[in-house]
Structures are given as structure tokens and as C-alpha cells.
């Protein structure tokens, strides 16, 4: 029998031992750089320095923010104080004695000592002139499309006229 055999697919397999090939496959990984001890210490020191610097920067930033916050709080308190003082001044100016003095001495007004109610005949609703219905002017199709897209409504006069003013009195 010869020293070579055939595989199941008929390819020839060399019978020589495969030891040498195996050794070639596990050759050592290539080293890209090498660190000496001193370099490692220097790098570690540099890293520590950077970390320390970052920490210091952060801490000082936080501290400065803290002072800024205190300053802003003081500023806010001062503004609140000023606001209170201004409010007090407004209240003093609104006091009736001040208003009376300003009205009589600066504006030349005189106290109202007498008044007169005038009676007026209120016309009945059916005697009032009818309000002409207000119709909106026609708008172009382009404008209408834009209005619809933009969600802009279109005002229309109420049929009953304008609403009464809130708090209005009738005498």
C-alpha cells in the first residue's frame, strides 16, 4: 500500500505528519509598543494630574456657582425689598388724602357737593333701529386655503350685537 490515501471526495491527502503546520498557526501576537516602568509611572502621574485638575475645575466651578446662587438670592431679596417699598409708595399715592390733595391743589378740581339725576326715556326694543347684519367681505380661494391650513378662524359679528361690559352698572 502506498503512503498516500484518498479522501471520501477523492482528493489526495498527504500522509506527512501535521505537527509543523500546527506550530506555524499559533505564532505569537505582534507587539505594537512596549512600556518601560518609568514611562508607566509618568503616564499614571499625568492621568492622575488630569483627573485631579478636572476634579479641581469641577469643584471650583461648583463653588463659583454656589456663590453666584447666593448672589442671585441676595439680588432677588433686594428686588423683593424694593418691590415692597414701591408697593408701599403706590399705596401712599393711592390714599384718598393724597388723591384729594393732588386733585384740588394740582389739578384745580373742586369737591362734588351736588349732583343731579336726569331721567331719560329708554326706547323699547322694537323702536330701536335694527342693526344691519354685518357680513364679512368675500375672500379669495387661496386665502381661504391658507386660513384652513393655518387654523385661523374668521370673525363674525354676533346677531345680538356686542356683549355687555362686565361689571357695568345701570343707573
Amino acid at each position: 500500500m502506498s503512503g498516500a490515501t484518498r479522501s471520501a471526495r477523492g482528493r489526495r491527502i498527504d500522509e506527512a505528519p501535521a505537527v509543523g503546520r500546527t506550530r506555524a498557526a499559533v505564532r505569537p501576537a505582534r507587539r505594537y509598543f512596549t512600556l518601560h516602568g518609568a514611562a508607566m509611572v509618568a503616564i499614571a502621574a499625568a492621568a492622575l494630574t488630569v483627573i485631579g485638575m478636572l476634579y479641581l475645575i469641577q469643584t471650583s466651578h461648583v463653588a463659583s456657582l454656589g456663590y453666584q446662587l447666593s448672589r442671585l438670592q441676595n439680588q432677588r431679596d433686594q428686588l423683593a425689598i424694593d418691590n415692597a417699598r414701591l408697593g408701599y409708595q403706590v399705596a401712599q399715592f393711592e390714599s384718598l388724602d393724597t388723591i384729594y390733595q393732588v386733585a384740588t391743589q394740582k389739578l384745580g378740581m373742586v369737591p362734588l357737593t351736588r349732583h343731579q339725576f336726569m331721567q331719560v326715556q329708554v326706547p323699547a326694543n322694537d323702536q330701536l333701529p335694527a342693526n344691519a347684519p354685518q357680513t364679512a367681505p368675500p375672500e379669495s380661494g387661496l386665502r381661504r386655503v391658507w386660513r384652513e391650513l393655518a387654523g385661523i378662524g374668521r370673525g363674525q359679528a354676533p346677531a345680538q350685537g356686542p356683549p355687555a361690559l362686565a361689571g357695568g352698572s345701570t343707573h
Partner: protein, 573 residues
Amino acid sequence: MRQPYEIPRRRINALLAGFLVFSLAITWRVVSFQVVSRQALAQEAVAFRYREDVVPAQRGTIYDSRGRPLATNVPANRVSVIVNQVKAPHATALALAPLIGRGADDIESAITQPGKEWVVLQRRLTQEASDRITAMKLPGVVLDPEPRRVYPMGDFASQDLGFVNYDYVGSYGVEGAYNTVVGGVAGKLVGERDTSGNVIALAQSSLNPPQDGADLVLTVDSAVQRIVEQALDQALASQQASSGTIIVENPQTGEILAMASRPSFDPNNFQDVTDASLFNNPGISGTYEPGSTFKTLTMALGLETGVVTPDTVHDGGPYRIIPGGDKVYNALDVDFGPETMTQVLQHSSNLGAMWVAEQVGEDRFYRGLAAFGIGRPTGVDLAGEADGILPLPGSASWTEANLYTNAFGQGLAVTPLQLLNAECVLANGGNLMKPYLVKQIVGPNGTQNIQPRVVRRVISPQTSQTITAMLTTVMDTTYKRFSVPGYEIAAKTGTAQVPSPNGGYDPNATIGSMIGYGPTNNPQFAVLVKIDRPQESPWGESAAGPAFQQIFQQLFMLYGIPPTDPEAARTAP
């Protein structure tokens, strides 16, 4: 032989010993700090770094019914001195004296007191004084802000408002009665401090926030209050009277629209008041014998019980002897002859009022007066309200004569508010209302609206209409000169005697008053004017009438109430 560089042994020993002693001393101090006194020092350090401060609550503002602030807060500086930092006490005292209102000697002795580290020299400085002290940069002199309660209108409605004392606690008036509501609850801040004592913003701190006080909206209308105060001042000046009170109440709701008394005080400078009785509100705490104004209640009870009608006629004669033997006359000893009940009111007949009370009877008369609220507090939301005095049958202070004297307002005592609130029963259709000054509490958790409260029904609507018509007739006849043209007002005057401290009545003193309400078709205002010890005229009509008329005239104008008779209003002189 010793080598030249050789150090003597004893020197080394001495040096060693010295070093040893020094080391031991250092060690002892370290041990002392770290071990022996560790706990105390640690506590001291924590106390120094973490300080607990009270965070004051903001006191609520008090507004009138139109939204005008009557009481608010402003910060005011307090000047203090750190004693050991003052370089020149005499110069410091001289510099501060004109600015803080204290004598230089007084200041110097205060800041040189032995054993004192910190002295407060003055509080509530003006802004100008604060600015000038700051500019002087005096060593050891410190300014720090504290809240100050201020009243922008000065002595306006002062006895209604009260004031806030140095401890920032409300006293008297609304400030006192609503102190817990308007004052809020102080908070607490525990925080780590820097060397200047400021809280380190990013350090650990805990804040229990303060709860600010609620704002109060009063029923008092500053415009009405001003009308009333002006009328009162004028009345007191023209009558040279010592004191007086005017109250305006809405008879439909019980809202107090104005309440003023003189003399009064400026709550901004409450500390300058030497007579503490000025802080009391005479409108609710001062009692007096109401005199003839009380006949309105007597007549209302007569009508309500059905013993009289407006047209019932009675002839009281010249006088009447009451139980106990005393003779009672009409004013000026006038004999009015036969008179209707309306005329009894028009003449202000004492004998007629006595007869009505007699017809009503003891039981119904006193039950009726009690129903009107006489002799007990009205329950108004102010502190210090007096009860009044109403001796009842069966009590030690009551005699049979009381029925007769009480009928025309003597032998009993009311507060002005008590009487006016009873008069409101006649105006509003017969209900006794609870009077009140605060109508809205605006707090952090919402707004509370105080609603009018009916205490009880006292008389029927029919009786209310009848007595109103009778009193309107009185106003249109007897007191015509104090009417407001075009408007119908129901009113009655009173001239009360003043009890003497020695017993009996003071022959030289009266209390003139006028009470009424209007417009009678829909009463919006009930007014009581009370002038104490008028000198120009002892009669209620002359003393109180002008102020009464002036107040109604301006109230109708202010509230835009149209006259019932426009022609009369137009043609009036």
C-alpha cells in the same frame, strides 16, 4: 581632650528635654482637643457651621372692599452695634444720635456696657436714615432688615384695623382678631454657613418653609370711611365735643361699610400712644345709654305685639310717677296732650314710650329686646366687643321702674354697633344680621368668601314696613332740615344723659345721637352718629343731624342711588 566639633553632652540632653517637653505639650493639646473636649468642640463646630434660623412668614395684606391696601409690609432696617468692634464709642454715638432719634449720651452708654457683645440701638429706621448710616461706614455698626407693618393711609380706620406690635403680632382690631389667619406660620432653615454667616448654597440644608398669611378683604369701603371720618371731624369741631363715633352698616347683609371714632391713633406710630384706651374701638367696646333712639325698638315691639298701631292715641299728661316714686317728664317738661304713636316718635315723647312698653308687658318687652340683641355681643369679628347692659326682670339690678325708663333708653347700656345692628332689623324686613368686617380671606389654599348670616327673625316684614313708614314721617317733619331732598330716610334722634360717677346723671353732659336708614324703599345704609358731650348744643338733633345728613347725601351720590322724588332733588336749594 574634647574635639572642637564635639557638642557637649549636657547641651544635647537639654535640647532633648526641651524637645520632649514641647512634644508632650503638643501631644497634650492634641489629646485635649481630640479626646477630652472632642464632643463639646464637635458640637460647637456643628453649631457654628449649621445654624438654625427662623424664616418669618409674610404677613398678609389687608384691603378695603375696593381693593385699596389698608395694611401692608415693608422691610425696615434695624441698627445694631457689635460692641467690641466699635473703635470710637463717643464719635459713633455722636454720628448716630441725630439719625436714630436717641441721645448721644444714651447711645454711648448703651454701646459701652460691660459684658455686652451686641446691642440693638433702634428699630424701624426710615430709608433715609438707613442710607446715611450705610454711607458713614461706622466700624461695628450693622444694619439688618426686618419686616415692618405699615398703614399707607395713616390713622385712617385705625381702630378697625388695630396694629402689629414689635413682636410682629397683631393687636386690637382686625389685626388682632385675625392674627392667626393674616400672620401665617414662621418656617425654619437649618443650613451650613460660610464665614460671613450666609448659607452655602450647595451644601446640605433643610428648609421648613414658612406659610405666608392670608390676605383679607374688608367690608369697609375706604370712600365711605373717608366720608364718615370727615363728617365726624367736622361735627366734633363744630360742637367742640370730646369724642364721637359713626358707623355705617348695610342692613341687608350686616356688612360694616365704615366705622370711625375719635380720638384715634396712627397705627404706624402706635408706640407713641400714651393712653392705651385709644386702641379700643368705641364702636364695639364703648357702652352708653342710648336715650330716645331706643324708642324705635320700643315702638317696633308695640307694633309687633299688636298693642298699638301708628294711629293709636294716648294722652300721657304732663308727667308720670313710676314705681319707686320718681316722676318722669317729657323733654323740657312739655305736655303733648293726646298723640298718635307716630306723634309719640315725632315728639320723642318719653311718656308715650313708657305707655307702649307698659302695654307690651315685661315679659314680651324684655324678650323682644333680647331678640334685638340688646345686652349681648353682636358677634362682630373683632376682639374686645362689650356686652352692653340690660337688667332683666328677676335680676338684682332690675326694679319695676326699669320697664319704664328702659322704654325711652335709660337704665340700660348698648354699644353703638349693638344699637345700629338692632336698627337694621327695622330696615331689612325683620331679621337680625350678624355684623362683620372681613368678607374675603385670600389664602394660599384658595379664597374663602364670608356670607351674610341671619341670626334670627325678630319682627315681621309688616311691622318693619310700618315702623319704617313712621320713622320716615318723623324724618320728613321733625328733622326736615336734616333730610336729603328727593330721598326718603327713616330716622330718630336721641339726647341721652350721661351717668355721673357720683350717682345720678351729670347735669352738664349729654350724648347727642341720630340713627336711621335709607333709602326707605330699599335700605342700603344704616347710619348711627353719636357725639359725646357736645358743647354748642346738648340736643342730639343739632349735634348729630348735620353729620347724619352729610353722610347720607354723599352715600347716595357715591353709590349712584337715584332719588325717589327727582323733582324734589332737582329743585332743592
